[in-house]
């Protein structure tokens, strides 16, 4: 029964509980889909045994009446999460051969919730990229194609591009993502799925390969809003092992879903109407505004005056933190070692890092090292941290006149692979709508809003106050119900 792979997380959970099918049938169907989709290059490692073991446990739990929130649901795991006994590389050669002897808190929570793992998902190397072209293991190809008959290979977005491609191609009903500056939301928008980045600190960063520690946050990616709520609930929660983890209870987000926006004020930030924005993005935004009004919300214009400085601040802060975090890859404790003939310790470090890091990772380490170096620290890093304060303050001001913000997720639909990779700056600008909320640590979600003239998905983004994931999910649910998005890529792989 191939139809089971058309089901989402909630439908699979309910079907297993009600005995409509067994968890083993579900796992087997998805395992077959994964094995047949090599052309997408979405999975780096396949772990059918993990998925089957979790499925058998779910089937046994059904018999004993001991089902857990995600029993019977097989998922994909972004390769940024350390998984005990399963190779984890962050899509970089420098972690070649690394097999974590421990489990990340987030993946551990998902297994505790009954989920099984279909495999580790390809991504931009160390989560640095917006197109999945920086993986050491080749590009992920989006399952979507333009309707122009050209069959150009499109970017699935990044950095969680293996996750977005796998979900939209129906290789898994849900997957983990991580978001540092939009790495869950932009790929979700490019592939017509939903993805939520919760408030910074909701999900533990313990065991997640670090990129920029003050920004990195794990989140859920799935086909719809309800599925994201279920999965995020299983992932979130306090962890004493992460000093930035928030010591707060996890709300019942699925139970709290409510598509009525009566009494809610939704802000439209005027600074997000950027120059040269494609007319289709503007039209999508207008439709989104009409939908939230239809759901009962009052729409107000708000101002986030420092928006234009968010991207440059991000491209100082994130590389600065990355240069520090990635100092640990030195060829001594794990991963690659390149020891040229007669080399000393310093030469070994330099050779190992030259051989193991890809060009984009080196570029960001170099920028980070520069902005933190003596003489430039205050001009760049301190100034960026002050601008970050102003960006967070802009949001605080906006919350005085609204409860949520509605924006497009990305300034365009998916672009073709290779189209922007020669110009790092053009690539960075793709994150213009997602980065400000990352800098402010706020929950934000992308939900499909429609298709462009080429037949490619476009996403709408809802940003909420800190800890108001429920408000974000509800507004996205209201949009989802009105958008009626049911397009899917035609299987060519």
């Amino acid at each position: 029964m191939s139809e089971v792979t058309d089901l989402g997380i909630a439908a699979i959970r309910d079907g297993v509980r009600d005995g409509a099918f067994s968890a083993r049938e579900v796992a087997t169907a998805f395992i077959d889909k994964v094995a047949a989709a090599k052309a997408l290059n979405a999975f780096l490692v396949e772990t059918p045994d993990h998925a089957l073991a979790a499925a058998d446990a779910a089937d046994a739990a059904r018999t004993s009446g001991d089902l857990k929130p995600m029993s019977g649901v097989p998922i994909g795991m972004k390769d940024l999460f350390c998984t005990k006994g399963v190779a984890t590389t962050a899509a970089s050669d420098i972690l070649g051969g690394f097999t974590p002897p421990y489990e990340s808190t987030v993946s551990g929570k998902l297994w505790d919730a009954g989920a099984g793992m279909l495999g580790k998902l390809n991504m931009d190397q160390f989560a640095m990229g917006s197109s999945n072209e920086t993986s050491a293991f080749g590009n992920v190809i989006s399952p979507w194609r333009r309707s122009d008959g050209g069959n150009a290979s499109l970017a699935p977005g990044g950095s969680s591009g293996g996750s977005s491609a796998a979900i939209s191609a129906r290789l898994c009903p849900g997957a983990t993502g991580t978001d540092t500056g939009g790495s869950i939301r932009q790929p979700a928008a490019f592939t017509g799925i939903s993805g939520i980045k919760p408030t910074y600190g909701r999900c533990s960063r313990w065991g997640v390969v670090a990129f920029a520690s003050s920004l990195d946050q794990a989140g859920a990616m799935a086909r719809d809003v309800r599925d994201c709520a279920i999965m995020l609930e299983a992932m979130a929660g306090f962890d004493a092992k992460d000093s930035t983890s928030l010591d707060l209870p996890v709300p019942d987000w699925e139970g709290g879903l409510n598509a009525s926006l009566k009494g809610k004020r939704i802000g439209i930030p005027k600074e997000y109407r950027v120059d040269n924005m494609p007319a289709e993005i503007d039209a999508l935004w207008e439709r989104g505004i009409a939908w939230v009004k239809d759901a009962g919300a009052e729409v107000v214009e708000v101002s986030l005056p420092h928006t234009k400085y968010a991207l440059p601040a991000y491209y100082i802060i994130a590389p600065a933190e990355a240069s520090s975090n990635l100092a640990r890859y030195d060829g001594v404790r794990y991963g690659l070692r390149d020891l040229p003939e007669g080399a000393g310790l310093q030469d070994m470090y330099a050779a190992t890092r030259a051989a193991g890091f890809g060009p984009e990772v080196k570029r960001r380490i170099m920028i980070g090292t520069y902005v933190l170096s003596a003489g430039f620290y205050d001009a760049y890093f301190t100034q960026a941290s002050k601008v970050r304060t102003l960006i967070a303050r802009d949001f605080d001001e906006a919350w005085k006149s609204c409860d949520l913000l509605l924006t497009p997720t990305a300034p365009s639909a998916a672009f073709a692979l290779g189209e922007k990779s020669a110009d790092p700056l053009a690539m960075y600008l793709n994150d213009v709508f997602t980065v400000p909320s990352s800098l402010a640590g706020l929950p934000a979600m992308s939900v499909p809003g429609g298709l462009d003239a080429q037949g490619l998905p476009l996403g709408l983004q809802v940003i909420g106050k800190a800890l108001d994931e429920q408000g974000v999910l509800n507004a996205c649910l209201a949009i989802e119900q009105r958008a009626g998005f049911n397009a899917r890529p035609e299987a060519w792989w």
């Binding site: 930035t244 060829g331 310790l345 890092r353 170099m366 301190t382 960026a384």
Partner: protein
């Protein structure tokens, strides 16, 4: 501020990344392009603004000063590329 090839070599050396002459030549315009773009932050008046230290207000917890694990030498060394005699092996660093 713009970087020249000597600066790029210095940054690469601080970052412990070996670079070839060709790579340096390619990186100079690339980094200048990015640094030129981020210079616009200088326009923002931040005279009375404190730099952000915590994105979401949260007090730093301290754990008890006790050993939380230990005797896991083999697990610690399991991924080392060249362990020797129960230690991380590195090239000789003494003259």
């Amino acid at each position: 501020m713009s970087v020249d090839s000597a600066t790029v070599r210095k940054i690469a050396s601080l970052a412990r990344i070996a670079v070839t002459d060709d790579q340096v030549a390619a990186m100079v315009p690339e980094l200048n392009n990015i640094l030129g773009w981020i210079e616009q932050l200088g326009e923002v008046d931040t005279k009375d603004v404190a730099p952000m230290t915590a994105v979401i207000p949260n007090t730093l917890r301290l754990r008890d000063d006790i050993v939380s694990d230990g005797n896991v030498r083999d697990a610690v060394l399991a991924n080392a590329p060249a362990p020797e005699h129960g230690f991380f092996g590195v090239p000789k660093v003494i003259e």
